[in-house]
Amino acid sequence: MTAGASSRMRAAAVAIVAALQPLLAGCMVPLPQPLLGLNQRLEAAGPARAPSLAGDWLALIVSRGGRDRVELVDLQRQQPVPLPGLERPDAQPLSVAVDGRGERLALVRQLEGRTELVLYRRNLMALQPVPLQPPGVPRRVSLRADGRELAVEVSRQGQWQVDLIAVP
């Protein structure tokens, strides 16, 4: 094959690839992209579960040193923020939910042999029990993005129900 023919073949191959690109792009489905930096930080924090994502906030339960604890991550700063007054070393968190401002967290936890639903307000650094009426055993909780209402799964007399509770 002469140098001229080889050059023409290469040029033809380049032209074919260029022509196919728009066609291939039309067939390709956009995929979700992993947020690599954040995921590396989460990986380094330890085994984690039960995520709640709202706005620029991620609440989750992280296992560290043989203990589960609630963590709230500011996704803009890619850093966890302190939650004074929330944690107790003898409490076992089961489910957590955060609102879109990272201000309110609803938490189901086991403490002293019972399971309870509590609401934490970050600006007050204070935790308040949320009573269930009629009484029941809470499990998973979710919070509206605007923080005005929570939905909680409650076991009563062997049946799972959902309570909607307005947050004052």
Binding site: P30, P32, P51, E149, L150, A151, Q161
Partner: protein
């Protein structure tokens, strides 16, 4: 100090307004895994229907059941999560032996499948109210982990009325 702030805020007199999530329509079925849309107008929960865990979408407070297009043969359903107006419903479904993450776009009727690396099995998820990100808890390689994914190339934002839309999705729905 925190206690003082709490008392000053008048929390001692807080009353917790409650309402029922409404009947599920299939007798006294268990209802689990609740999730509210960002504006609170749609409730997703998982109920046992014909022996299979099935996601139920209801307007609030009326309890009117909202139709879903793609999910009827993909039970059991788990871990539903809704965007601000309830346009997007993300959840875990079963396709053969695989547990998968899918998002149904109720505005277009389209079902988006979110592939995960082969060794990871999704356990739960949470969709950001604007639909721009999703957090997925997985199990695999002997470890539980939470990973975040950017959905801006996949979904239009679902925002409260009046908020401007920044950016455009990579693909029109």
């Amino acid at each position: 100090m925190a206690l003082l702030a709490l008392l000053l805020s008048g929390c001692g007199s807080w009353s917790w307004g409650r309402r029922s999530a409404g009947p599920v329509g299939w007798g006294s079925a268990d209802r689990q895994d609740p999730a509210l849309s960002g504006n609170g107008r749609v409730l997703a929960s998982v109920v046992r229907r014909d022996g299979r865990d099935t996601v139920l979408l209801q307007e609030q407070p009326s309890g009117t059941v909202l139709p879903l297009r793609h999910l009827q043969r993909l039970q059991p359903h788990r871990s539903p999560s809704l965007s601000w107006n309830g346009r997007y419903l993300a959840l875990l479904v079963q396709e053969g032996p695989q547990r998968r993450v899918v998002i149904e776009d109720r505005a277009t009727g389209r079902l988006h499948r979110l592939p995960l690396p082969g060794s990871l099995a999704p356990d739960s998820l949470s969709l950001a109210a604007d639909g721009r990100r999703i957090a997925i808890a997985t199990e695999g390689d002997g470890r539980a982990r939470v990973q975040l994914y950017d959905l801006t190339a996949l979904l239009e934002p679902d925002l409260p009325a009046g908020l401007p839309v920044r950016g455009t999705p990579g693909e029109a729905p």
